[in-house]
């Protein structure tokens, strides 16, 4: 490494001269790192082929796509599908439902793993802690089909355990949770929490173990109780992780877990439960309206992109470290 000394440059930072590595020409750097770049190549190829090339399929939102003509061969349709989308009442209904369900999810489902992680972290018994953690992970591994069956059964107004408890212990008349528009939304959000909150604690628990134990010791010496410690040490220590996960969550804002909603929805609650993914499935895959549903999906992606970008900006403006 004889050239090392020649790579240093003097630059002025804050009025003082500082030695900095000189920028080598691109060619030299490419040649120097050729093997490392080659290792990166398969990943790049993957992204190009499976993440960027398929994007050209988006043009069918502006065409009258027919299977036989293919993506390139189909006739151009201009903005007819976009127009139809914005004129459609049903479109506004599915957008409204999608947005509302996501707002509720963000309000209730997003903080659940944070609270849970803090609670787990404060447990004293190591064995109990591990047991609780493992139990909390279980729902993550059960498919929505099974979960849906369990939920429908336990919430049944005639035979479900929940209504039996309500009737026998509190004298409340049985509630048909899944056929009532208000209760259905609550069940939807809670089933999401039930399934994902435990698994979601993993990242937060990892972040908590990174917090310097000396901070807690100092706090205890200063006389801080458990709640003060959580408020002044654990939560600030988690803020970066929370921020990044929030951005990722908001990026998926216009998406709803298809399996979850498809399994839980029924005729009685379609007014609140029909969302973009279920509509795209019905009209696109079953109804062969490929162009129109691509336009709807395109709209969904654009909103998602705007949301992820603005959340990132807001978090940066608030002094956090954003994602990009």
């Amino acid at each position: 490494m004889s050239t090392r000394s020649g790579e240093l440059n003097t630059v002025i930072i804050d009025g003082a001269p500082v030695l900095r590595p000189r920028k080598l020409p691109l060619k030299t750097r490419l040649y120097r790192d050729r093997y490392l770049l080659m290792l990166l190549l398969p990943v790049l190829v993957f992204y190009v082929i499976f993440r960027y090339v398929p994007m050209y399929g988006l043009v069918i939102a502006f065409k009258d796509f027919r299977l036989v003509d293919g993506i390139l061969g189909s006739q151009w349709a201009g903005l007819t599908h976009i127009e139809r989308m914005f004129r459609s009442e049903h479109f506004f209904r599915i957008v409204r439902n999608t947005v509302l369900l996501n707002v509720y999810q963000l309000l209730f489902q997003f903080p659940a793993p944070i609270v849970l992680a803090i609670l787990i972290n404060e447990m004293r018994s190591k064995t109990l802690k591990r047991g609780v953690q493992s139990l909390l992970y279980v729902p993550h591994f059960i498919s929505w089909v099974v979960m849906g069956g369990i939920i429908i059964t336990i919430l049944s107004p005639s035979t479900g355990i929940v209504n039996r408890i309500l009737t026998q212990n509190f004298g409340i008349r049985p509630i048909f949770f899944l056929a009532d528009r208000t209760w259905w939304v609550i069940v939807f959000i809670f089933s999401g929490i039930w399934k994902s909150a435990g698994w979601g604690t993993i990242l937060y628990l990892a972040a908590i173990t990174n917090i310097d134990p000396q901070l807690y010791e100092a706090a205890i010496i200063d006389g801080a109780g458990k709640f003060r410690q959580i408020w002044h040490i654990t939560l600030p220590g988690l803020s970066t992780t929370i921020g990044i996960l929030l951005i990722l969550n908001v990026g998926g804002f216009m998406e709803v877990n298809f399996e979850q909603i498809f399994i839980l929805q029924n005729q009685a609650v379609m007014r609140v439960a029909d969302v973009i993914p279920t509509f795209v499935y019905r009209a696109g895959l079953l109804g062969a309206q490929f162009s129109y549903t691509t336009a709807v999906g395109f709209f969904q992606s654009i909103v998602g992109l705007i949301l992820i970008w603005s959340t990132n900006r807001i978090i940066k403006a608030l002094g956090g470290s954003g994602l990009f």
Partner: protein, 526 residues
């Protein structure tokens, strides 16, 4: 060390590139190869192989002389499976489906081949069969120029008949009631089943009826209203079944069913109808909206030795008497992919199926699985029903079959056991009852123009909302009907109505020239 890194990097690069390109190109097809779609129902017993490769597939290759391969498609996910396959260019050469609407959807996407020339050029048996059965003709033509894009064989009688209403005769006897034949009598029986404790448990734990899946379609048939796809014709005027004034009574039925507790409210979350069937076999419901096969009869009888069933072929209303759903004449629609490489071989295979192949695939071999009844010439099973279940999967290869149905088949084929004999008699009676009433069908097929489908996307969710509100008693049937009318007009119903009228006027003369409405009772007498 650097060498190793470099080698690894290059190897990874090559592997990833090659695999990407290899994925795009399929195997070069052999000259006479034909790939055929087959319904996957998970019925192949593991010791018989798979749906793609088993002794029957070998036998079919050998007998037909065509190099066949089979592509399984899940029975209930035809569109979800085939649409992406067509888009990716991996769809089978020969596809088939019971639903004409699905075939029409593929035709609209341009992925099917016109068949007239190939049938004329290559076919023998199939061509003759189609000429002998002109009833099929209007169903096989698609598009404005009316070319044949599909072939089919006639449904045997037992698959033409479909929905049927069942009632517990022992409950009727217990309460001293007659079999309901009119709307009024039906309502009276339904009320009695709910309030008069027909199962004598001392509590009101019964429902008037359960839904074995087709309830909604059967109420559509009963009132000739409410269906999302059916159009009716009165005096050459075509109108949608949801704009008929009969809709008021249709709505009233749903309202009463909920208000008077005829039906289990949890039907709405019971999407697989498990709970409904459970209520039925445990003797907690008096009527069953199902198919013409006696619903879960052996289970029901095991739970309640007194259970007896009577089939009901129609419930009359003040709008007339309409039978329950009967299928249109074609059985499976068979179509070719637009760029099928070996149409001649595919036709050869279909000819073989129509000629002789279908028979052994349905009945097995004479002397082994079946024998021929001397008096009637009807094939009779020689194997137990368990062994038959083992062979059930072969029926799904039979996309064409010029089969005839003989009602004697049930009795002749039934084991010498009192219950089995009773069941066979019940099946015979049920089939006769089903076909004794004609199901009203004013056009051979439903219109499917794109504007109409776009309209349905807007209108159907609104209609479903209104139907739900009226079922819950939050709207009177009359108010609901007025709401449906105004929504229909507001969302552009009159415009699509005019288009459908044009479609009807154009096709009506063609339809009138063939007798596509078959008289089912006459089939019984043949």
């Amino acid at each position: 060390m650097r060498r190793i890194i470099a080698l690894t990097a290059i190897t990874m690069l090559i592997v990833s590139t090659v695999s990407v390109f290899a994925a795009g190109r399929g195997e070069a097809a052999r000259d006479d190869a034909v790939s055929v779609m087959v319904f996957e129902r998970g019925q192949v017993p593991s010791h018989r192989g798979t749906l793609q490769e088993n002794q029957w597939v070998d036998w079919m290759r050998e007998q037909s002389g065509v190099n066949l391969s089979f592509v399984p498609v899940p029975r209930w996910e035809v569109l979800q499976t085939l649409n992406p396959m067509f888009a990716a260019g991996t769809a089978p050469d020969v596809i088939s489906d019971f639903s004409r609407d699905n075939i029409a959807s593929f035709h609209a996407q341009g992925v099917l081949a016109p068949l007239d020339d190939w049938i004329e050029q290559y076919s023998t048996s199939l061509r003759q069969y189609l000429a002998d059965n002109p009833t099929l003709d209007p169903f096989l033509r698609f598009g404005e120029d009316g070319q044949k894009f599909a072939v089919a064989t006639m449904r045997p009688l037992d698959t033409l008949a479909n929905h049927l209403l069942w009632v517990r005769q022992d409950w009727l006897d217990e309460l001293g009631l007659d079999v309901p034949r009119t709307e009024e009598e039906f309502f009276a029986v339904a009320d009695a089943f709910v309030t008069q404790d027909p199962n004598r448990t001392g509590t009101n734990d019964t429902f008037a009826f359960v839904d074995g899946h087709p309830l909604e379609g059967m109420i559509h048939a009963m009132y000739m209203a409410g269906s999302n796809s059916i159009w009716f014709v009165d005096d050459r005027e075509i109108y949608h079944s949801r704009t008929s004034e009969r809709l008021v009574d249709y709505f009233r039925f749903y309202q009463l069913a909920n208000e008077r507790g005829w039906i289990d409210p949890e039907l709405i979350t019971d999407r697989q109808f498990d709970r409904q069937n459970q209520l039925w076999v445990t003797g907690r419901a008096g009527m069953y909206f199902g198919q013409w096969g006696p619903p879960r009869f052996s289970e029901l009888r095991a739970n309640d030795p007194n259970a007896r069933l009577t089939p009901i072929g129609a419930i009359s209303t003040r709008h007339g008497t309409n039978g329950w759903f009967q299928e249109p004449p074609p059985e499976r629609f068979v179509a070719f992919r637009h760029d099928i490489p070996n149409p001649q071989a595919a036709i050869q295979y279909l000819d073989w199926l129509v000629d002789e192949g279908w028979f052994n695939l349905v009945y097995g071999f004479e002397g082994e699985q079946h024998g021929i009844d001397e008096a009637t010439g009807i094939p009779v099973w020689r194997i137990s029903s368990d062994e038959r279940r083992d062979l059930m999967f072969t029926g799904d290869y039979v996309i064409l079959r010029p089969a005839r149905f003989h009602p004697e088949q049930f009795i002749l084929g039934a084991p010498d056991d009192p219950f089995e004999q009773e069941l066979a008699q019940l099946r015979t009676d049920a089939l006769v009852e089903q076909i004794s009433f004609r199901f009203r069908r004013d056009t051979p097929m439903n219109p499917t123009m794109p504007e109409l489908l776009t309209f349905y996307d807007e209108f159907n969710p609104v209609f479903d909302d209104i139907q739900f509100e009226v079922s819950m008693g939050r709207l009177t049937p009359e108010a609901a009907y007025r709401q449906v009318q105004s929504e229909w007009n507001r969302l552009g119903g009159p415009r699509v109505q005019a288009m459908v009228q044009d479609w009807f006027d154009q096709n009506q003369s063609v339809w009138a020239s063939v007798d596509w409405q078959i008289d089912l009772l006459s089939l019984l007498e043949q």
